[in-house]
Amino acid sequence: MLKKLVKNTYISAIILFLYFPLFLLVYLSFNDAQYSNQWHQFSLQWFKELFNDKQLIDSLVNSLILAFFSSLIATFNSVIATTLLVLQRSHKLLQKFLLIPSFLIILPDLILGVGFLIILNVLNIPFGFISLLIAHITFCMPFIIFSIIAKIKLFNRNYYLASLDLGASKFYTWRKVIMPILSPAIISAFFLGFTLSFDDVIISYFVAGPEFNILPLTIFGMIRNGATPELNALCTMTLLFSLILIIIAQYKLRKS
């Protein structure tokens, strides 16, 4: 009995440690005060300012576009390449293919970011959307490959062979047999890539240009210039958004 109490208290304490700062931001986002943490009065002022902040909204849209395309391209290429290799059933080839991605996963973002800064300068690629896209595709790809490889390895090769035997073209087999079976893994890999890209600060810091602002860098700038409670409102909105996504995901899971 006592043991259970200790256990539950510890678990709750860690979760509280992770959430208390976030809840504090949510609480302050409704507070009508610029600097103080004391409660003044309920107000939606910071939300109003958030929605009217054109720079912030622009960078949010840019971040969403960037995360969508970099994750889409990275997922598409990773899925096709990994599936092709698994279908060949050559353990050695697969091992060789995974060598670089497994190295890149442990390489700190900072080294990658500095590397992008150098190579983009050498190749004379202008800093902006294209440079960010290249960088984000590259750093997402290893994580995406490793998140799908276990699922792809479980794919029953006989379905593929049977489809070909029955006269389906390769493209038709991909569309009608392989993709539907792998789709849950592909979707979760896409979301992993999306989150990684959307959240990245360090790599973007080195490769972003002045014309294409993205959300993490805008937030970084705001914090360094002495933050406004707008950021608290942004935090509240993100948490609300995650909550909705989780509820939808749970609902879908229950249904299937």
Partner: protein, 272 residues
């Protein structure tokens, strides 16, 4: 030439061009001389590596390792019992989701939340003042303590998840067998459970120790003038000082440390 392997080949060459090639160029650049217009030029020099022995750099390096080590230690201290406790509770998946949700908010905002907590008129000072434990607010923000707190806060889930995954794959039968053979709880933990959970611990340490040195935005936001870490140094050398060779030398130094850490952890993993 077989067409089947075109996609894998595209990916491998893409990764080579955009990640491994720059890593090699980084080493090359670290041996050149800085230049204002073209960033680098000849002649080859080792002076940037000599600068790394400079006491000023040495102090920053030691501080980085120390702070990263402390971060790893605290994360491990908090995460190991946590992963152990949630191993056999009924709402396991709920707790895991709760651990993952903070990931979805920007890590910058999570770091910024620490500012609200630690600042002069922040929540912690307000609570302590109300409880009459202190008479004047403590200056918690812009210190190495604040950086440490921010790092632990940001990196804790990266320690919990690998340890939890490692523990989950431990065969319950081994534990049952040990119990049947008369081992005490302590013996079971020391001789059966701990050795098998070590692989997860090593993965967790790798996930925390290296980022702790390179997440430059956390010292930028929470630290003071004395909280510069290696990551900030590299950031400054590339972005503000435009001294690419020095930045490249520092990055190369960091990469060498990383390879050493990785080598040690892999050889430890092999032994188990």
């Amino acid at each position: 030439m077989n067409t089947k392997n075109i996609f894998p080949k595209i990916i491998v060459s893409w990764l080579l061009i955009f990640s491994l090639l720059p890593a090699i160029m980084l080493v090359g650049i670290s041996l050149l001389t800085p230049d204002i217009s073209s960033m680098v030029h000849l002649p080859v020099t080792f002076s940037h590596y000599k600068n790394l022995i400079d006491p000023l750099f040495f102090r920053i390096a030691v501080r980085s390792f120390f702070l990263a080590g402390l971060t790893t230690f605290f994360c491990l201290l908090l995460a190991y019992p946590f992963a152990f406790f949630i191993l056999n509770i009924s709402h396991k998946s709920l707790v895991i989701i709760l651990i993952l949700i903070p990931f979805w908010t920007s890590s910058l905002i999570r770091t910024y939340a620490m500012v609200d907590l630690l600042k002069w008129h922040g929540t912690i000072n307000n609570i302590l003042l109300k409880l009459h434990l202190i008479s004047t607010p403590l200056s918690l923000l812009y210190s190495n303590y604040a950086v440490l707190t921010g790092l632990v806060y940001n990196l804790l889930p990266f320690m919990i998840l690998p340890i939890y995954n490692g523990m989950q794959s431990i065969d319950q039968k081994c534990i049952d067998a040990a119990r049947d053979l008369g081992a005490t709880r302590l013996q079971i933990f020391v001789k059966v459970f701990w050795p098998q959970s070590q692989k997860g611990v090593i993965n967790g340490v790798l996930m925390v120790l290296l980022p702790a040195m390179t997440l430059f935005y956390i010292p930028n936001i929470l630290g003071g003038a004395k909280s510069i870490l290696i990551g900030n140094l590299i950031q400054n050398e590339f972005i503000f000082l435009n001294n690419w060779p020095q930045g490249a030398a520092t990055s190369t130094f960091l990469s060498i440390i990383l390879v050493i850490f990785f080598g040690i952890s892999q050889s430890k993993g092999m032994k188990n």
